[in-house]
């Protein structure tokens, strides 16, 4: 009956962590904080585009084509006389919106299919994971470009293509996490309480594992933005007059030697957006992953 117990290191660490919750506040993570601020600035600029520039990004002005940067046109104009700065802001609007929506569908579908595969196992798991293997066997860009080519350019095709290709990563992550989590006692306890499989997955398992998918979603948005820009560059993206960073780079590359600003600034914008999202992803991972300061 004499229970001699030594403090378990894990528990002691947990207690310590608990005593100083401030160390885990999000703004104490330099990566997360700087990424979040950067992204907030970009998103604010994109949303406030009509306030930041008086120009219409679509309206052509052939009398003012290919002007250099000036007080009137901060980044000059393109070959049809459209203001580059205005197109950059409105292009960010288009691309960010598509990317954020495009990441939601694979996130949801992948999470649902991954939890079904992980929780039920057996032939359901085998079938779903072979499907995942098939998708993973193709390179990401090749598959996306091929799908959009078949479906025809446009936003709808981009959503469909990214969803068809993107869900596999979420399915894999969630399946793996659920495989581990479902062996925990609280799942056994939930089953003992007569809860349905749907409820156990939705209320008990997913809240414990979804963070991994959220962290991945941050880097996935970066990939999606790059994919959207790449599609725009190939002329498979958003149809012509709508501003889009990829088509801006494509249009501008004919004038690369004389008007470098036409390609360089859209390119830089993509880099900065990608950087901010990567920083957020890294910071979130550090924040959520246990046992890390």
């Amino acid at each position: 009956m004499s229970a001699i117990s030594f403090p378990e290191p894990a528990l002691a660490a947990q207690a310590e962590e608990h005593a100083q919750p401030r160390a885990r506040r999000w703004y104490r993570q330099p990566a997360l904080a700087s990424g979040a601020i950067l992204l907030a600035l970009i998103v604010a600029a994109a949303i406030a585009a009509p306030l930041l520039t008086p120009y219409n990004p679509i309206k052509q002005n052939l009398g003012a084509s290919l002007l250099g940067p000036s007080a009137h046109h901060l980044l000059g104009t393109d070959q049809t006389g459209r203001d580059t700065f205005a197109r950059l802001l409105y292009g960010l609007r288009t691309d960010l919106r598509i990317a954020f929506i495009a990441v939601l569908l694979p996130f949801c579908i992948g999470t649902i299919l991954g939890s079904i595969a992980g929780y039920f196992g057996g032939w359901v798991d085998a079938v779903l994971m072979r499907l995942v293997d098939i998708v993973v066997a193709f390179p990401f860009y090749v598959l996306i470009i091929a799908l959009v080519f078949v479906l025809g350019p446009g936003q709808r095709s981009i959503y469909i293509a990214i969803t068809l290709v993107g869900w596999v990563s979420y399915a894999r992550i969630i399946r793996g996490e659920i495989l581990v989590a479902k062996r925990q006692d609280y799942v056994l306890a939930a089953r003992s309480g007569g809860l349905s499989a749907v409820r156990i997955i939705g209320r008990h398992l997913l809240p414990n594992v979804i963070t991994q998918a959220i962290i991945y979603a941050m880097s996935d948005i970066v990939q999606d933005i790059l994919a959207i820009v790449t599609l725009g560059y190939f002329g498979l993206g958003v149809p012509a007059p709508t501003p889009d960073l990829g088509s801006m780079i494509n249009d501008g590359q004919n004038f690369l030697t004389t008007h470098w600003q036409l390609t360089t600034f859209p390119g830089l914008a993509v880099v900065v957006v990608g950087l901010s999202l990567s920083l957020i992803g890294d910071g979130l991972a550090d924040l959520i992953r246990p046992g890390q300061s």
Partner: protein, 351 residues
């Protein structure tokens, strides 16, 4: 507090139990497929728990106690399956039931308390919601009514300041408080019987005592039956009216808790009693049982305890040893139980 079901039960028990046993396990066999062969984890176990009664199921690690509990609840690991037997809960056989039918029984009729309250509670769900979940799912309670129910239960299991603790997470509770939460969850749908899988093993001794008193009080109040698995004999002596001793996947002795623990009729029970301190049974030193538990892939022939038994005879190696009812209503599987009885008597006169 008195729910209609518990009142009905209390009347039943007061009237001396009109119905048959609440839980009646008959000749249960469970086999687990493993790399080394088929493990006969539960091999012909029969148990009865009457309404309002607490039955202790004791035995060492690997004797099949926990597997028996998981079988009753229908939460066996995928590689294990019931090969024979019946589990009658209030007259309904649980073995052939579908998953969804079982889900209507788990919670409102039968529930379980686990050994490790920390790992058996969902770490990212507020405890109040975990307690309220059963009533919402099984009793059709709305959000507010279920929360009210959860607060009542928290009060009933002795969690101080329930309104504030309702929104706390499991890691903010101490071990004893977590186990009280587990008990509240087990009671949440007013079940007929609660299965307890060593619910006090992970707690320190003073908390153990509090939890046991709480369980005993709740049982007396609501007339709920307990099937209490443990390897701790003093706990059985404190809480249970009857005890069943399990060895190598089989029952070796059952009976009234005082009779069995003070005057064992099976050498294994005697060994358990001798190796445990303080069951009103004071000795100079503890006597361990020699050897180790039997392999359940290829169990010993005859009596499974014979390789470790001091009283084993030639017939113990060959004859099957089913439980036999002795005068007075207790049962033993030992062919030569008089020897265990003599040794126990000698112990009492003892050194």
């Amino acid at each position: 507090m008195s729910e209609p079901a518990s009142r009905r039960r209390a009347e039943n028990t007061a009237a001396g139990g009109v119905k048959g046993p609440m839980l009646d396990v008959r000749d249960l066999h469970v086999q687990i497929a493993s790399r080394h062969g088929t493990v006969r984890a539960v091999d012909g176990v029969s148990l009865e728990v009457a309404g309002g009664e607490a039955l202790g199921l004791v035995g060492e690690s690997g004797s099949g106690k926990s597997m028996t509990l998981r079988t009753i609840l229908g939460v066996l690991p995928p590689e294990a399956k019931v090969t024979a037997g019946q589990i009658l809960l209030d007259g309904v056989d649980l073995v052939p039931l579908s998953r969804s039918d079982l889900n209507r029984i788990r919670g409102p009729k039968i529930s379980m308390i686990f050994q490790e309250p920390m790992s058996a509670l969902n770490p990212v769900m507020r405890v109040g919601y975990q307690i309220a979940e059963g009533p919402r799912v099984h009793m059709g309670y709305g959000k507010a009514k279920a929360a009210q129910r959860a607060l009542e239960l928290m009060q009933r299991v002795g969690i101080p300041d329930p309104e504030r603790r309702f929104r706390a997470y499991p890691h903010e509770f101490s071990g004893g408080m977590r186990q009280r939460v587990m008990i509240a969850i087990a009671l949440s749908c007013d079940p007929e019987i609660i299965l307890c899988d060593e619910p006090t093993t992970a707690l320190d001794v003073t908390i153990q005592d509090q939890i046991l008193r709480l369980l005993a009080k709740l049982c007396a109040e609501s007339g709920v039956s307990l099937l209490f698995v443990t390897h701790d004999l003093p706990i059985v002596a404190q809480l249970c009216q009857r005890v069943a001793v399990m060895y190598g996947g089989q029952l070796v002795e059952t009976g009234d808790v005082r009779e069995v623990l003070l005057d064992p009729r099976h050498p294994y029970t005697l060994g358990l009693v001798r190796s445990a301190p303080d069951v009103e049974y004071v000795r100079e030193s503890l006597v361990p049982i020699p050897g180790s538990p039997p392999s359940l892939v290829s169990p010993p022939s005859g009596c499974r305890f014979h390789p470790r038994c001091a009283f084993a005879e030639e017939d113990c190696r060959v004859l099957p040893t089913p439980l036999r009812v002795l005068p007075g209503g207790r049962s033993t599987a030992c062919l030569h139980y008089e020897r265990a009885a003599e040794a126990a008597a000698a112990d009492r006169v003892g050194p």
